[in-house]
């Protein structure tokens, strides 16, 4: 087998694009003031900030003033949930609806809110990994203040009917947040048309820099800061703005959105070829709906093996992949996402996520199929729980 290097862990993080690096470098060298400073160096920085804000807003279909820049997706999720919960509590509304397979940034924040006296309903995500708008509607109570449903799941890649869920929420007068960290730059987004009140995004998932992201908050919703201090971001997020990263994020988002249709069209057949190839492995099961999924996401469970050893052997074959999500890799417990779609513990341990970059080739897809097939067979051959 010839040796290749394939980075198939783009859901964990993407390589930063040259355009984003260039934008950051220019900013670091030329607009290095503090955007809050009155002097010309500061005002030059303020202009660069306004430019980036305007461009990102345009890509989401919102107004520049509706964006709060954060340090990433986790911070955006935390602020959205805590902020809306506290607005709700002020009106006696302490019920929140979300799903069982949200990112930990959402689930752990909800757990903390439960300790503070909120009630949380986690919707079933079914075996196909898709929430239905009807179930959202049925779960809404008079005291519901927030519905938070992720746009696309980070492990199994399934895409939720966001616009429909948004409509249900709008009709019921309940605010709707979506964690769109895996969707922005990969799926079309228009917050107004999709009835989204709050949306989280993170630049490093679309070839932008790490450590920056944004929270869209519809005009008229006053969200308390999570980080208190200076008056940056119109008093809603303190701290000197991470200007070079924000400018890099704008460059990366422009690039991603400009190529969105092209990349989607390229990736879907390659993704489906990979799914078909891996489906030929005995006792392999695709996680999540086969079609309603991110163009680059392929997620499988293989019975009789354990994910980490699979990953390490694939790494030896030049393939960077993951089992579950990156940020839970220190944990011994199986992925909560796989349990949520009904995989039993034994099977959930044997999971593999391949998240493809837009430049993946057919040859690479075939190499991936061959490498995974061989490695699964080898691990089963040394496994006491597998008998052919």
């Amino acid at each position: 087998m010839n040796s290749m290097r394939i980075y198939a862990d783009n859901a964990a993080t993407t390589a930063i694009s040259p355009a984003a690096i260039d934008a950051m470098l220019t900013c670091m060298r030329e607009s290095d003031g503090n955007p809050s400073s009155l002097h010309s160096a500061g005002q030059k920085a303020a202009e660069a900030l306004a430019d980036a804000r305007g461009r990102i807003a345009a890509r989401l279909g919102c107004e520049p003033a509706e964006l709060i820049f954060t340090s990433g997706g986790s911070e955006a999720d935390n602020q959205a949930l805590r902020g809306i919960a506290h607005l709700g509590a002020a009106k006696g509304k302490k019920h929140i609806i979300s799903t069982a397979f949200e990112h930990h940034a959402v689930l752990h924040t909800l757990r903390k809110l439960e300790k503070e006296g909120f009630t949380v309903t986690l919707l079933d995500v079914h075996e196909n990994g898709i929430v239905t708008p009807e179930e959202v509607r049925a779960a809404i109570r008079p005291d519901t203040c927030l519905v938070s449903v992720m746009y696309a799941n980070n492990e199994i890649g399934t895409i939720q009917p966001i616009a429909e869920i948004g409509r249900v929420c709008r009709e019921a007068g309940v605010l709707f947040h979506t964690d769109a960290v895996q969707a922005v730059g990969h799926l079309p987004i228009d917050v107004k048309a999709q009835n989204i009140d709050l949306l989280s995004l993170s630049a490093h998932k679309f070839h932008g820099p790490k450590g920056t992201g944004a929270l869209y908050v519809r005009k008229g919703i006053y969200l308390e800061p999570l980080i208190e201090g200076g008056a940056q971001e119109r008093g809603r997020r303190a701290g000197t703005e991470n200007l070079p990263a924000i400018v890099g994020m704008a460059a990366a988002l422009d690039e991603a959105c400009d190529h969105l249709d092209e990349y989607t069209a390229r990736l879907i057949p390659l993704r489906d070829r990979l799914i078909a190839g891996l489906s030929r492995i005995p006792h392999a099961v695709l996680n999540g709906d086969a079609k309603q999924r991110l163009p680059g996401n392929v997620s499988f469970c293989f019975e009789g093996i354990e994910g980490e050893s699979l990953l390490l052997l694939l790494d030896d074959k030049g393939i960077c992949a993951s089992s579950g999500s990156a940020c839970t890799s220190g944990s011994l417990d199986p992925s909560h996402v796989l349990l949520a779609i009904g995989r039993v513990h034994d099977v959930a341990h044997g999971s593999l996520r391949l998240s493809l970059g837009a430049d993946v080739t057919e040859e690479e897809i075939d190499y991936l199929i061959q490498a995974v097939t061989e490695t699964v067979a080898y691990l089963r051959s040394i496994s006491p729980v597998w008998r052919d």
Binding site: E306, L312, G330, I382, P384, V385
Partner: protein, 146 residues
């Protein structure tokens, strides 16, 4: 600061003693699939000496490496030496394991002990029950809430 030491990676990539011993004198299996780790060790024992040892493992990199190292450590040794192999000794031989992977070395120690217990049982040899693990009541499994 790679995840695993060179030695772990070597034993993981090239595990020694993989396989099954037909008509083994003792077999020990620990762990369970819900936890994501099962280790099965087969022993051939002649004249109180372990003449062969093999393993099958379902588990992470360090579980495979621990099985490989542990079987290496007891091959050719008297049963009494094998009984004295602790998980600590396995970890040391592997040049260390990350904290949250120490339990894999515990599985290896326990699998050896259970295989030896099995050998004693089959051959009607008397032994002190307390030196052997009681996997039915393993706190490890409980800790994972399985």
């Amino acid at each position: 600061m790679a995840l695993y030491s060179e030695t772990v990676m070597d034993h993981f990539r090239h595990p020694r003693n993989v396989g099954v011993i037909e008509n083994a004198d003792g077999v020990g299996e620990v762990g369970n699939a819900k936890c994501g780790d099962i280790m099965k060790i087969y022993l051939k024992i002649d004249n109180d000496t372990i003449t062969d040892a093999k393993f099958e493992t379902f588990g992470c990199g360090s579980a495979i490496a621990s099985s490989s190292m542990a079987t290496e450590m007891i091959k050719g040794k008297p049963v009494s030496d094998a009984l004295a192999v602790t998980n600590k000794a396995v970890v040391e031989a592997l040049d260390g394991l990350p904290t949250h992977k120490i339990h894999c070395s515990v599985l290896a120690e326990e699998a050896i002990k259970l295989a030896l217990k099995d050998y004693y049982d089959r051959h009607g040899i008397d032994y002190d029950k307390k030196v052997f693990p009681d996997c039915e009541n393993c706190a490890h499994c409980d800790a994972h809430g399985v």
